[in-house]
């Protein structure tokens, strides 16, 4: 089953205006750099973007905000991005903030065929809104619905032609759950290998969840908060 496409440009070519996208990563860690760059060049507009964060001014999803290509952002934390903050305060972008665990589980549920689930996160806060509530074991919960996307765009360390993926370090984060929840899932990998080269016991995302895969180029892997200790 050969799911390989040539590059990011080919992988994203049928992403149209107003598409719903999931974009993997936590901060700038484990983000699909090649596909984000290709989206910037494609000039696609009106995107609804589901991602834990909004990048920084000049990297990650921040590049798409600079060109006002995203109309709505669904995320858990959007700090450290001035362009984004200005767009948000000026009302040029709609923002839906979701507790991080609920965001992860809503993606997982979307991919797993579970339409909704109860969680205690956000009960009694403005997140509750008019969502149905129910008490289980004496504790109040709110009903959260599953999320899916037209395209899920993820970044892995290694992948094979069948779409099997292995992530490295905490660059795994939201990538596996988003990979499950895309109608079309695009995976960019640092190293594309032949089937059989990855040990099936250590696959994180089974290939069934992935429709397109390519080997990315020139990863910058920018560090947002470089923190070190003295020797």
């Amino acid at each position: 089953m050969n799911k390989v496409v040539k590059d990011a440009k080919e992988a994203i070519q049928n992403i149209k205006d107003n598409a719903i996208l999931m974009v993997g990563g936590f901060g700038l860690c484990g983000i699909p750099e090649n596909c984000i760059t290709a989206l910037v060049h494609s000039n696609v507009k009106g995107l609804i973007c589901i991602s834990n964060n909004a990048g920084v001014d000049d990297f990650g999803l921040g590049l798409l905000f600079q060109k006002k290509q995203i109309k709505k952002m669904i995320a858990s934390y959007v700090g450290e991005n001035e362009v984004f903050e200005r767009l948000m305060l000026d009302g040029e972008i709609e923002v839906d903030l979701i507790p991080q665990g609920s965001l992860a589980e809503r993606c997982r549920a979307g991919g797993a065929g579970i339409p909704a689930f109860y969680t205690p996160a956000g009960f009694g806060t403005e997140i509750q809104g008019d969502k149905p509530t129910k008490v289980f074991n004496g504790k109040p919960h709110i009903l959260e619905s599953a999320l899916t996307a037209d395209f899920a765009i993820v970044k892995a360390w290694k992948g094979d032609r069948n779409g099997n993926l292995i992530y490295k370090g905490t660059a795994r984060n939201f990538n596996p759950v988003m990979a499950m929840a895309g109608k079309i899932t695009i995976a960019e990998v640092e190293e594309l290998v032949e089937p059989g080269e990855l040990d099936p016991n250590f696959i994180h995302t089974p290939g069934v969840f992935v429709q397109r895969i390519f080997q990315g180029k020139a990863y910058e892997k920018r560090i947002e908060q470089r923190t070190v200790r003295n020797k």
Binding site: E80, S102, K221, R226
Partner: protein, 218 residues
């Protein structure tokens, strides 16, 4: 009055051998430096690691290894790495023994606000709402008053809530307090701080029973 380091030191005294602990951004991250030597603690960071180690040495940073504050970290031997849904399964499923996080406001009924100042700051709640809603054991690490000298320990929170009736213990620069039925129960005073000073810095109901001991900080 305690500085940030000493607040962290005092909270470190609460840790028990074998605990899995999640630390929020700010003062809580300092706690890793003061773990008693005779106990073993494993730190969880909600972006997907158990067994988080200290910051890397210079030139050994790995862009693929960060904590939830987006800082570069190391993984200790025996660490494990997982996706975000699994990470919050640990949190929601109450497999994490202790959560320590900061606050802008705490109410005398245990409500906490720490994610939004309407019209001024909207960064998002990150994992805080999931953590406070599910954790059995939460310690708030904070200054007793804000930058304008206003009490953070209130009858009722004024900012949008992060969680409802979830906080049971608070360690501030002035005191250790438990949230009990009826208000903030004063447990310990910071070295050199009087009960009256704590009283005047606390807007919510302060419960004082008997002699209040001074904290012991090494």
């Amino acid at each position: 009055m305690l500085d940030r380091k000493n607040i962290a030191k005092r909270i470190a005294q609460e840790l028990k051998d074998g605990w899995y602990v999640n630390l929020g951004i700010g003062i809580p991250t300092l706690i890793v430096n003061y773990i008693p030597e005779d106990i073993s603690i494993e730190f969880q960071s909600e972006n997907g690691i158990l067994g988080m180690g200290p910051f890397p040495y210079e030139d050994e940073e790995d862009a693929d290894l960060i904590n939830a504050g987006k800082q570069t970290i190391t993984a200790l031997s025996g660490a494990s790495i997982f996706d975000s849904a699994t990470s919050f399964a640990m949190i929601r499923g109450q497999h994490i023994d202790l959560t320590v996080l900061g606050a802008m406001e705490v109410s005398e009924t245990g409500d906490i606000a720490n994610w939004k100042i309407p019209g001024k700051m909207v960064k998002g709640m990150g994992g805080a709402m999931d953590l406070v809603a599910s954790a059995n054991n939460i310690i708030v690490a904070t200054s007793h008053t804000n930058r304008n000298g206003k009490s953070k320990l209130l009858k009722k929170c004024t900012l949008p809530l992060t969680g409802l009736r979830c906080i049971k213990k608070i360690v501030t620069d002035l005191a250790v307090l438990d949230v009990v039925l009826g208000g903030f129960k004063l447990i310990e005073r910071a070295p050199g701080v009087s009960v009256d000073e704590i009283k005047s810095a606390t807007e919510g109901t302060l419960i004082i029973e008997g002699e209040i001991p001074e904290m012991k900080i090494n």
